[in-house]
Amino acid sequence: MENKKISLGDRYAEITVILITVIALIVGWVYKSGVENSSVPFNVEGIRAQAPKGWLQSEPAGDEILRTTDRTSSGFNTTYVLRKIPLAANTSAAQVASLLTLGHGQDLLAFRVLDQREVTVYGKAAYEISYVYVESNPNLTHKNIPSIVRGADYIYVNDNNAVVVSFWADEKSYDLNLARFHIFLQSISY
């Protein structure tokens, strides 16, 4: 293929096409972020948060006050859970963490704690537990391969209650979903 000299008009047209494509993609990215981060206000039992818009909110059970799931996420559906647990006087966040860890160990398959420590989350003292487990359908005829799920619990102690915020996501998409979870975490007030 023999190439001829490119005219100035051609060059300008080429640059304009690249520019308009880049602009379209930047606007698309901003719009995508807006859609992904859009939220709906949530206020139950004195706990306020901005729950992700468009996620499926399940009927809370037990001490749960919010359970919201992203049905579009691949593998294990990304889930946020908010719990309010009544505490005896002088119970520390570390003690709540031990109880939660014991509970997870009993309820979850192949549960392993990856890390646990005291942290400050957006100015609030909290206790963080990072863990991993396997989510498997108990139905033996189910043909899906079990998912490896990574989870994190943030425990806040407030008067005689513990507010526990849990984040579960498929191991493959955990890091990608973390930024969205931090927006949710930041929005929580009690």
């Binding site: 293929m1 023999e2 190439n3 001829k4 490119i6 008009g9 051609d10 300008y12 047209a13 080429e14 304009t16 096409v17 690249i18 520019l19 308009i20 494509t21 379209a24 993609l25 606007v27 698309g28 990215w29 719009y31 995508k32 859609v35 992904e36 468009g54 992203d70 579009t72 996420s73 990608l176």
Partner: protein
């Protein structure tokens, strides 16, 4: 004598175009019937092979169909195949990873109608149409073979069909070979749609090379193609009819596919009309 020859050639081309469309309908029909009768189960390798075969046949038929449109001076087949391969490579190396992994469109594009239309135009449309434009603009555009405005449409549709082939292979593999009967119709329509949208870009590209167009001319072409691309994707998923029976619920893709087909065939008709108008003006000039 020359006029008689032109009439003969035109009839010859129309007959070939007619035969190509019939062969596509026969292919789609055979796959539809075989899938219904045999209910095939695939291993990984047979699935990939089936995907490649089912994606290539409609693309090849449309490729010949658009190739026949250039009646004055047919382009070298090697160049056409080269641009087709380049379109496929750009789709596999940049288009699909950018749309699926970076923009993760499947996670947010179906949240609401506005997201489907805007995401379809700004992200999917512009990415696909720019890459198909690039496959022509940075390969054949400055060669001596690109010597008439119609060549823009011919080469751009080849790039579009290369792109569509990769999308269709990806569709078969990600679906695990399920419901190939409906799938093959979708693949034929997607191939035509991708070809016709890039045909719009190709028309603008051809005019840009041979006529002194304004600076906004080429961006307008890409934008129009991206808008049609976005609308096609929106319509394809728009009317998903839900059927509920005792055996469970199922979603019918047919109404959406029918609407999307109208867009694909309408765009193709417009592109073919532009090509014929170009050819007529060239012949009148001669």
């Amino acid at each position: 004598m020359t006029e008689l020859k032109a009439v003969y050639e035109r009839k010859h081309v129309w007959r070939n175009e007619f035969l190509l469309i019939i062969s596509l309908i026969v292919f789609v029909g055979v796959v539809y019937v075989l899938d219904g009768a045999l209910k095939p189960v695939f291993t990984t390798s047979t699935l990939i092979l089936t995907g490649i075969l089912l994606a290539l046949v409609p693309s090849a038929i449309w490729l010949v169909f658009f190739y026949l449109q250039d009646r004055l001076e047919p382009e070298p087949k090697g160049y056409i195949l080269g641009v087709f391969a380049l379109g496929a490579l750009l789709a596999a190396a940049i288009g699909v990873p950018l749309i699926e992994n970076v923009f993760r469109v499947s996670h947010w594009i179906y949240t609401n109608t506005l997201a489907t239309i805007l995401g379809g135009i700004l992200v999917v449309g512009f990415t696909q149409e720019f890459l198909k434009y690039a496959a022509v603009r940075y390969s054949i555009y400055h060669s001596d073979e690109f010597d008439e405005a119609t060549d823009g449409v011919i080469y751009a549709t080849a790039a579009g069909l290369g792109y569509a082939t990769v999308l269709n292979i990806q569709f078969v593999i990600s679906n695990g070979g399920v419901d190939l009967g409906a799938g093959v119709i979708r693949m034929a329509v997607v191939a035509l749609a991708q070809a016709s949208f890039s045909g719009i870009t190709g028309y603008f590209l051809g005019r840009a090379k041979f006529e002194s167009e304004q600076i906004w001319w080429m961006p307008l072409g890409i934008t129009l193609a991206a808008i049609f691309n976005g609308l096609f994707n929106w319509l394809r998923g728009l009317v998903a009819q839900t059927n509920i029976s005792l055996s469970g619920a199922s979603v019918s893709p047919w109404p959406g596919l029918a609407l999307a087909s109208i867009v694909a065939f309408g765009t193709t008709a417009a592109v073919l009309w532009l090509v014929r108008r170009n050819l007529n003006s060239v012949q009148a000039g001669k």
